[in-house]
């Protein structure tokens, strides 16, 4: 009867898990960093435009303040979205690891 090579199973699981983690973390990090960069760039341009519109009398001080504070609220909503998407990524990763462990183990059992 063939022996089960636990060491080989664990090595297989480790290699596949490492590859899965690298792929998912890379994708998520690129998306999150891109989101923050986009927010910063847009905020800078928005603030410049609002100051000019305020100076031209196209909006009043209350409206200007509402826009500035609103930008903070949007940033919070963006951060919440990223937190949610991170949870989705973790869930997807855990499911991927389960598949790897189960497939590797059953493939090794005669």
């Amino acid at each position: 009867m063939a022996n089960i090579d636990i060491g080989a199973i664990l090595k297989n699981v480790e290699d596949q898990t490492k590859a899965l983690a690298q792929k998912q973390i890379k994708e998520y990090t690129q998306q999150a960093v891109g989101d923050v960069k986009d927010l910063l760039e847009r905020s800078k341009a928005d603030l410049k435009r609002w100051v000019e519109e305020l100076a031209r009398g196209e909006m009043d001080k209350d409206e200007f303040e509402s826009l500035v504070q609103g930008q903070i609220d949007v940033a919070e909503m963006r951060a919440l979205k990223q937190a949610g998407l991170a949870e989705v990524q973790i869930e997807s990763f855990v499911n991927g690891v389960i598949d790897i462990v189960v497939d590797a183990a059953f493939a090794a059992i005669p």
Partner: protein, 155 residues
């Protein structure tokens, strides 16, 4: 292989299989962190976005003339919020709705409060605020879209 070794091997195999089954069950029990995608919730958010931006265009006019439309929009937002509140593992989306709807903050709730307080708002402000509020709705919509679809969910 001697009988004793075969018995030992069989016991180990059963133990190993049990271990895998238990581990998988534990993982499965622990791995649902966030609500899965919901088409109705997605439609609530996209529909509320369109209706909110359409009503905002009218804020150069008198609040009193549009009070009924404002009430209808607030009800629509409340319904979307309540629907999401009824879903389990959905606290992040609920937190997003809270920021968006809060009259003491500066997105939809704050915009409607300001409109009521001032009577009417400037066209420039409305145009800028629409961009901001559209972006805010997009955060709710993007999170919903990013949740696992039923076809992707492990049974």
């Amino acid at each position: 292989m001697p009988k004793e070794n075969r018995s030992h091997f069989a016991t180990n195999t059963i133990r190993f299989r049990n271990l895998i089954a238990i581990s998988a069950s534990l993982f499965l029990a622990a791995c649902t962190l966030i609500a899965h995608y919901d088409q109705v919730a997605y439609e609530h958010a996209t529909s509320a976005k369109v209706d909110t931006l359409a009503l905002m265009d009218k804020a150069t006019g008198s609040y009193d003339d549009h009070e009924k439309e404002v009430d209808a929009l607030v009800r629509q937002l409340d319904k979307a919020y309540e629907y999401d509140r009824g879903r389990s593992l959905n606290k992040i989306t609920i937190a997003q709705w809270n920021v968006l709807r809060d009259p003491n903050r500066n997105l939809v709730g704050g915009f409607l409060k300001m409109w009521k307080a001032k009577g009417s708002l400037s066209a420039t402000f409305i145009a800028e605020k629409k961009l901001q509020i559209a972006d805010a709705f997009d955060q709710i919509i993007a999170l919903e879209s990013g949740k696992q679809k039923p076809s992707e969910v492990k049974q």
